[in-house]
Symmetry: C2
Subunit: 481 residues, 2 copies
Amino acid sequence: MERTLERIPPKSADLSEWYQAACYQAELVSQAPVRGCLVLRPYGYGLWERLQAELDRRFKETGHENAYFPLLIPESLLTREAEHVEGFAPEVAWVTEGGSEKLTERLAIRPTSEVIIGVMYAEWIQSYRDLPVLINQWANVMRWEKRTRPFLRTAEFLWQEGHTAHATEQEAAEEVARMLEVYREVAEDVCAVPVYKGEKSSSERFAGANHTYSIEALMPDGRALQSATSHELGQNFARAYDITFAAEDQTQQHAWTTSWGMSWRMLGALIMTHGDDRGLRIPPRMAPVEVVIVPIPRGDTTALDAAAKSLHEQCKAAGLRVRLDDRPGQSPGYKFNEWDMRGVPIRLELGNRDLEAGVVTLVRRDKAVKEDGQKQQVPLNEIVAFIPTMLEQIQHNLFAQAKTFLQDHTIATLDRDEFIRLLKERAGMIDVPWCGDPACEVAVKDATGATTRNLRQPARAERCVPCGEPARYQAYFAQSY
Amino acid sequence: MERTLERIPPKSADLSEWYQAACYQAELVSQAPVRGCLVLRPYGYGLWERLQAELDRRFKETGHENAYFPLLIPESLLTREAEHVEGFAPEVAWVTEGGSEKLTERLAIRPTSEVIIGVMYAEWIQSYRDLPVLINQWANVMRWEKRTRPFLRTAEFLWQEGHTAHATEQEAAEEVARMLEVYREVAEDVCAVPVYKGEKSSSERFAGANHTYSIEALMPDGRALQSATSHELGQNFARAYDITFAAEDQTQQHAWTTSWGMSWRMLGALIMTHGDDRGLRIPPRMAPVEVVIVPIPRGDTTALDAAAKSLHEQCKAAGLRVRLDDRPGQSPGYKFNEWDMRGVPIRLELGNRDLEAGVVTLVRRDKAVKEDGQKQQVPLNEIVAFIPTMLEQIQHNLFAQAKTFLQDHTIATLDRDEFIRLLKERAGMIDVPWCGDPACEVAVKDATGATTRNLRQPARAERCVPCGEPARYQAYFAQSY
């Protein structure tokens, strides 16, 4: 009757194959009978809930409130901001029938909500006293896609989108920087995924924005993953949707708006960054289950069952996210492998011999099998107090490993041939002075498949490495997801 | 420069007019430029977040996990359960185009998710060991509507939908009863809205269910409001979507499934139940803002500003949901009226004279103006400790008022003429022995506009009051929303 665990292909051999297998076998997601769509299963939703909680708390601490705007956007509204509609129209799903009637106007399922929110802000904002407006929305959005890759590419996805309106350009710029920093913090300090902050090049900018900023992570295959963006929309949407206010000096002005978003894509970055050949490794702060207790029954299990239950209760009382795996019919070995595959940071093994000795065996998921410190025995009466410290160690160790990888694969060069070779080899984030010219970026892309990930100023040398023109930025180039 | 507050029409004169005005002026919602849709503004979303938190905690305590299923359902899947599709097809919004291509099959925006979840359960459930499956989803759903009434009738709405699968009919029945009780508890103990639990008549049953149970509240205009439902789906969906499992005895069996949902409609019940001529009255456990501090500046405000800020910080530190309204340019009187209108349970007024006397004036929103106990002075050094007690009093007082109203408007009768008259007068919940025959219910509806709200057993007399046939149930009849 015992089930066997399907093997996941090794991560190093083919990241993409490993990734898909890990996502499905860890029961994060299932394929849905709807083109381009996935089901987020309870364990995957547990990750999403952790991300939501961490983001939502920070949004509120920075003065934002949540609201909810309609899913459907009439086509006539969508088309008012020219660049925006051009950017999104090709990927919109359209509702054309309601009940039994044909609609007179097509309704777009939101690919993002600048438009519908802009229309409402125009109504709500009258005076400088109404500003700033600081709103976030948790929502599903849809961008028509043929391919699906869990978390990274799906027609429907879950995200949050912040939308704010300000009296001045400077305030808007400060907001955009503030939220980018929130994203960096959540990526690095919560998801343990190190990132680079910077501005996107003009060709990679959000449709309708003046400036787009991003955080970019580096995956084990040397490809960058954009993990969140924050946009200065200038007065573009305010002009298109008529968001004006009476300023203190009585003049009528257009508001300065921003938007910023992080989606469940961040979970894809986390999974690829930390996983190993045995499956997921989830950073404790993101783990739906931080600790799993696996009893090892032999002979009379009365005392063992009671001890396991007591340990479970103690962990719960201490506020830990803990699971007791006392399923009958599955061997401890199967359970070890399954929870390893699902990435639970700490496993506690409890057998009769442990119990007699008054100890429990703690196994760290962040360490390799038989690596120093992977297993240790901890007195039963000290374990609950010990776990939080160990979780912090695991959190920091996972971040340190990922940070080392990022640093080892961030390569600065002033040599054009090396630059091209590194990009072709997908060696990582290639850090070069750059001119900022879209034509130069296209030439690099044609030669290597890589683009700028993001930019910062000033450039560290006078000449653009790809083309030799004067450099304006220091840019990370990489192939990307 | 001071704004004036628009007056809300009196509640007693026209509940519907009062309701709409209160919802819009308290900034719970805005009309959206999309047919049948509303924007849930931050204050309204604050109510929704409170409801979510209270429900979500109880779902998890009863063993449920959250997940997320696709928004779109292919038409061919939707039509597999005959009764279900018949019930929902007339109100479905259809996606027929994606990007620039016409789809080969229409996709329904989910009106509810039994179908897509049933398909997934068929895949996930193999053995009795996989049961029960206990999943909840927080989601937007769409049912094509022409009219909009905030929270009560909108094309798109927010809700939660629980979907579970069990090995036996009895387990499924227990689940349905358990979740109905959770809804009763949240309605009564959190929203302070008293309700009747019972089973729906066959004509009011969910499309595809064997048994539907509901909680029903009574609005001030004598109309009932169905506030949540819980369904025994029997093996209907399991048959239609092939949810089978290998039982312990090795036989292959169909699972027994349930579903249960509460939507933002519950907020409509709360608003109508508790509001008064001055606007909303929000029960403290649901209040996005429990306490508002309004300083009354006169002359030098240095000490007053500091005291108000300090009080604000103390309240926050005590875990209260508190707002300090120190907006310049608006008079205290305006602020009092505005926060009254928005239903904040406790207002703290702080003036120089209060400050000198070391007191603060506490004003309860649940009491009428100048009613005994509406205002009281509390020593500043005791106020923070005093507030939780006062919030509890307000919570219980609002519930007691609503409970008295429900009891006063629940009328048992055995006289057919009186029964018909009471229903025509919209006198409340009319409680009569009933036969259970759909034809009898139709006759009552034709005569009065009323239907059964829900049923319980046994009947309290031998004969059905409407038709004289043998009675099987004791039924609440009422006109309804």
